[in-house]
């Protein structure tokens, strides 16, 4: 099965599933960061211009520091995400799932120079396209990953119906599937809902719209309504 997610097992035995971010969303994040930095440089340049050569010097120092440490600072103090990454809902973590720290962040950002070669992050792109976890060279060196930060979704409403107990015992996964069906049924066409519900005739022993209704009743029971 092809997928973009990786599972990490914590010492407590909990499985953490993380989706790894690919080149397109990372390019978008990079673009946003680039625009932010450019805006800062232009704004500061206009102000510092009043201070003559001294201003120019300060300006260059600021550019130097920002170019090298902008991602590092944000990755350390802002939970692994520069503003661009934050906007695209991605963040950097160590590849064992722990938050990123100084050394890894510095390594992965210093290696941008190598990733950039020979022009416009071409080496980094090749590395991302080839490597299993979308890692650029800096990520490989620092053992880091860029993953999605998925917002915790609130459980959608399910259509209310009189709760009913399924005739057979269901595994956790199957219970989840029925709940999922109920939650998403409002976004599916009625025909498709019917088609799906009829697949489960084994439990519902019903056909047509009543089968859908029956599944909603199971879902209500599974959700603990009484």
């Amino acid at each position: 099965m092809l997928d973009t997610s990786r599972t990490f097992e914590t010492p407590e035995g909990v499985d953490l599933g993380l989706s790894i971010a690919g080149p397109i969303v990372r390019a978008q994040a990079w673009l946003i960061d680039l625009l932010i930095r450019a805006a800062i440089y232009i704004g500061l340049g206009m102000i510092l211009n009043f201070l003559g050569d001294f201003g120019g010097g300060i300006w260059l120092i600021i550019i130097f520091l920002t170019e090298w440490f902008y991602p590092v600072i944000f990755e350390i103090f802002k939970n692994g995400a520069t503003p661009g990454k934050k906007r695209m809902c991605i963040k950097v973590i160590n590849d064992n799932g722990t938050p990123i720290h100084w050394s890894a962040s510095i390594v992965r950002n210093l290696l941008r120079v190598v990733d950039f070669m020979p022009f416009g992050y071409a080496f980094g792109l090749c590395s991302i396209l080839i490597s299993r976890d979308f890692k650029r060279l800096g990520d490989l060196a620092a053992s880091t990953l860029v993953v999605y930060e998925e917002p915790t979704a609130s459980a959608p409403e399910i259509p209310t119906a009189e709760p009913a107990v399924p005739r057979q015992a269901l595994t956790l996964e199957e219970q989840r599937a029925i709940l999922e069906f109920s939650e998403r049924s409002s976004r599916l066409s009625p025909e498709r809902c019917k088609e799906l519900a009829e697949l489960l005739e084994v439990i519902t022993a019903k056909q047509g719209p009543t089968a859908v209704e029956q599944l909603h009743r199971y879902a209500n029971w599974l959700q603990g309504r009484s």
């Binding site: 973009t4 201070l51 809902c89 057979q168 595994t171």
Partner: protein, 506 residues
Amino acid sequence: MDLDKIRVNVRPRTTAQAIDLGFVMARHWWRPLMLSWLMLALPMFILFHLIFYQMPWIAGLLVWLCKPLYEQAPLHVLSRALFSEKTSMKEIAKNLRSIAGKQMIANLTWRRLSLRRSFNAPVSQLEGLKGDARKKRINVLHGNKPSGGWLTFICVHLELVFYLSIFALISLFIPREIEVNAFELITGETFWIILLQDFIYLLAIAIVAPFYIAAGFSLYLHRRIELEAWDIELDFRKLNTRLNSQKRSSTNLAALFVVCSLLTVQLTDSTAMASENFLTTSDQTSPAPTKETAQQQIQEILKDEVFGQEETHKVWREIESDDQPEDIGDFDLDWLQKIAEAIAFIGEFILWVIIGALVLWIVYLYPKWTQWFGIKSITPRKKYRAPETLFGLDVRPESLPDDIGAEAWRLCQDNQMRAALSLLYRASLVTLMNQHKLEFHKGATEGECLKIVQQTQLQELGNYFYRLTVIWKAMAYGHQAPSLDDMQSLCEHWREHLGTKHEPAC
């Protein structure tokens, strides 16, 4: 289309994650995708350059224009590979005309510049829709959040990045001895240089193409999974099979036969709708209203207060002024200039101070850095402090009498063997620690002390200390009193080995 054979993990994703899945798919089926792409792209590249060898720029333009054509065959391969069907390149080559020729004119003209090309391609190619039906279907698929534009935007730039990178790489590898201006490779206008440029362009788009096609297809899949709940269908089918197999095992053979035959009939029935081909437009909702009723509804809705508001916009417009610009020469801005200069001067001074501080800081941190980088430490080791007690004996120099040997012998004659031996041993340790600078750590045992002493080069001292330790251990732990002779010799020789330099601290 048989959902059970699908090769990707079917679950709801975000748009960005769907694109990522496309990249994973492209990586997995890279070879067939690449080959089927090149099957058309390479011959057409050569053909264009043969025909337009006098105007090679037209050839390059045509190579770019025909990109949608090359993308049809890989899409075909991918859509089959997704459901575990293999497509041989021979098959593709045979059917190339029917695969790539679909809706060619539309693809090469008004749809060519569409930013959602790779998303929309499956609708026309795999579902075979045209005209209005296609437009409707695309609207349904895109829903209220059209996707695919960013994908194309970024991919175009990736192509550009690869294009320029290949030039940069070439120029990096041209030896300095060869007088070739690498810049001319990009700007040159002779046939061969343009051919090289076009070929590099072909390489660049070839690198990106499989990923672009697969990502677009994955976006399309993502929307279908969302709209048609493929994941739920898969789960339900699994549940169905499990329950049926349970039933099977609990009934007898005859019943099994009946159930099985029923089941197959039922399954084939329920999957028939989904498995006909890619076109299962079951996500169209209630019958569309007629034109008149729709108009009426629209009018009713527009009557609402929310619509039809008046808004006032204020804009700046230039008006001609006949006033002369005010003379602002009176303002003396010199003071501002002076302040700026003063700030600059102070700032420069502060900068130098900061640099000085940085240098000092580096010098101060140097020893630490050498440690971080694994260079052998040059900081002195932690100072050793002699312990005050060893295995319960007080080993401070102050606690000893002046003449150890004599004192011990006196104790022997008093028949206080234990006290005498203890004194000797204790004094030896004190001397070894203070005069010979041996380092006994706090929890050392007699045996460890002995080892340390024997490691020194002093042979005789070692022997003496060995005898003393053996007798002391026998006395202390074994309660075996030594003979008087032994004691006498120990007492007499004490000064010889350990006492010569002994000067009590107090």
